[in-house]
Amino acid sequence: MDVEILARVQFAFTVMFHYIYPPLSIGLGMVLVIMEAIWLKTGNVLYHNMARYWTRVFALTFAIGVASGIVLEFEFGTNWATYSRFVGDVFGSALAAEGIFAFFLESGFLAILLFGWNKVGPRLHFFSTCMVCFGAHFSAIWIVVANSWMQTPAGYHLETVVDGQPVRLPPGHVVTEADLGTVRAVIDDFWAMVFNPSSIDRLTHVILGAWMAGAFLVVSIAAFYLLRNRHLDFARASMKVGLSFGAVATILQMVSGDFTAKGVVENQPIKLAAIEGVYETESRTPMTLFGWVDEKSRTVHGPQIPGLLSFLAWNNANKPVVGLNDLPPDDFLRKQHPDATDAELAALRPSYWPRVNAVFQFYHIMIIIGVALLVLILTALFFWWKGWLFRTDWAPTRWLLAALVLSVLGPQIANQTGWFTAEMGRQPWIVYELLRTSEALSKVVRAEEILFSLILFFLIYALLFVLFLFLLTRKIQHGPEDAEATHEMPESWRAWIRADDRLPRAE
């Protein structure tokens, strides 16, 4: 197998595994902040116990997240050295900012969050929880900024070295094989790089996806206890926090999804055409709800709504969405291949497309799951409003709770397929329309070495994943300690509890 495929599979595999955990840290971080805030506000010890329980779940996800995250930082250099040389000047500052601002914040205050219950007062503990949550969000900011720069590069110019002196290349310079190792992207404007055309939309989308992952985990475990008739006070209160937070995140995510897709229309028309399987440019472009793309005959099969894609893309049902048959445009192709004839250019065009059917499927899985989660959470809110949510002896409620138990998988699958859409949709480029993925590899690393490390990571991650699920299940089976708080709580914490029974226990 060739180096490119192996290196891509390795990165995809390690980043997919990693990406199970950070969204949970970000989402659960928010949940912990909410729970501790309620505890400090009301003095209701139930929320203190909840915060402690979810902290333990948080610790489990955090540890694996950190361990699998270091791998990715190393892989830029080990597997993608040419890429690192090319983007180091631009990408590096975002990564350094992530380390200095986010990772230290997160891991430093994590010590207090996990081990500080008996060491510091309630207010300082709450502050630490906020800092951990803030740090988790901050790290998402910088890494998504860096990734968005790869999607929509901005605030840079290309530079080469002639006789030891840097020489600025004109905009639109086409990077060729001979340029690799000497030409690099150099930063012009830090803020233009940070606020490149896609970073805000994509960042919002990623963070909301992470919130959903955290919220649905809480909802799922709470629903499980309700069905089993265990830890009822804890489960009801957790359910309410989880549902409220999850509803906010899910509804906002629909809005954010729309913004993100409109950004893709604008910035990466090829990706948009691929995710919707559009080949022909026609007015009233239809939207395919689900189905498959036949890449040979360049057709898409499945139920369609005429004009919907045009409407979503342009707010105008008649304006055509440009299809793959016209993308990339002729002048772009001519620049890439100055010596090619018209017929050759037409033949070269598909080499600038991603794998259309794969991108189409990943995107549609994400959309279908997103809509399903929205329906589910709105139903749950309706049950809550009607007072049916905790009637666990009633069949419709039991069905709903069962669906909520399974819902934890939804955001996970949607997050993964969303990233697949984004990253596969960018191919064949690693830095969009600037550097090809095939050109970005390490020159000195051989296929066997990558295969060796790929197998190694596969075995280790399989083991870790099984252990993670095992420990998480055990933790859920064991459940929260109902009387956990009081017996070993220091005075400063105990003083916070209001023994008042009129306080709103969850009912």
Binding site: E73, T78, G88, L110, A111, F452, S453, I460
Partner: protein
């Protein structure tokens, strides 16, 4: 001082921070299996429990800073040291999850399994860090495009391995001193008795390494002759380490630990001073070396990052110090412990 020089120093500071901080928790890991009782092992894990995670971040940030400030060096070293770095990652992963997983279940086989993973992960990590460092000191073969031109087996040369073993000895010594500071009673007495031996082993390894350097890397000898202050820094490093037993005998455990930290920082300084302005020295063909001149990012990027570092690093120092302060004193096992 040019931005390149500042970043040479800053990357050095971050990596020194990593060596000093993660050094003691890797060292605790290296000694883990020598402590037999379950309660004592939990004590060791909890002594590093609240801080090991933050310590590892110094590596991530050091790597990130190298990527940002000297992308050429980052790309060359990381792709060149492919297999050793993959093994380093695996070791770091195992030891991280071992700390987290070990005490979650009471079964004996479970705990023993993770104890072994923790100890082996720590030792192998320390060894590989040392081997990488040894190769950098000695110089690695680079071609005209600054790509690594050596082999994996070539990286396992006796000189680099000597440095690897020295690093394990250094971290083990450092870890033992940390344990003495954080524990009490029988466990503390036991580890305290190891300290003189560990210091002895380290000094022996370090002397052999230095001797080997004088024979195998004549370039450094010439440099030290030229920059005689290096000799002073190196000697000061050794003196500080030799001071550790004296601090112990006077019951000043914290000072002993500080001496150990300072000793490591001085060793890193020795290395930095005798390496500047190279970042990756090429041997043979020194003309292909990566230096702060040909490996650095543009002054613009270095300037932006300096702003980031100027805002961020003091804050990091402040809360890292407060967290160590909050968790000061002897470790106690509670229901939140590992």
């Amino acid at each position: 001082m040019s931005l390149e020089v500042i970043w040479f120093i800053l990357v050095g500071v971050l990596l020194t921070g990593y060596a000093v901080l993660d050094g003691f928790d890797l060292g605790v890991g290296a000694l883990h299996l020598f402590v037999k009782k379950d309660e004592d092992r939990r004590m060791l894990l909890n002594a590093i429990g609240p801080v090991w995670d933050g310590n590892e971040v110094w590596l991530v940030t050091g790597g990130g800073a190298l990527f940002a400030a000297f992308p050429e060096a980052y790309a060359t070293v990381f792709s060149g040291f492919y297999i050793p770095f993959m093994l380093l990652l695996v070791s770091l992963i195992f030891r991280a999850v071992a700390i987290e997983f070990r005490s979650k279940e009471p079964w004996k086989w479970w705990r023993t399994m993770w104890d072994i993973a923790f100890a082996c992960g720590s030792i192998v990590s320390a060894l590989l860090i040392g081997v990488a460092m040894g190769n950098i000191v000695r110089g690695i073969p680079l071609d005209a495009d600054h790509e690594f031109a050596g082999t994996f087996v070539g990286l396992l040369n006796p000189y680099a391995l000597t440095m690897g073993v020295t690093t394990v000895a250094l971290f083990a010594m450092h870890g033992a001193i940390y344990i003495v500071m954080k524990t009490e009673g029988e466990l503390q007495q036991k580890v305290r008795r190891w300290v003189p031996t560990l210091i002895g082993v380290f000094i022996a390894c370090y002397s052999i390494f230095n001797l080997y350097t004088f024979i195998d890397v004549p370039r450094i000898v010439d440099l030290v002759r030229e920059r005689s202050y290096i000799f002073l820094v190196a000697a000061l490093g050794i003196l500080v380490v030799l001071n550790i037993p004296r601090e112990f005998s006077r019951g000043r455990e914290f000072n002993a630990f500080l001496c150990s930290c300072l000793g490591m920082a001085l060793m890193m300084a020795t290395f930095g001073l005798s390496y500047f302005p190279n970042i990756v020295y090429s041997s043979p063909n020194p003309e292909n070396s990566l230096t702060i001149a040909n490996a650095a990012s543009t002054p613009k990027t270095l300037g932006i990052m300096l702003v980031i570092a100027t805002i961020g690093v003091p804050v990091v120092f402040a809360y890292t110090a407060s967290i160590y302060y909050i968790f000061r004193g002897k470790t106690k096992l509670t229901s939140h412990s590992y």
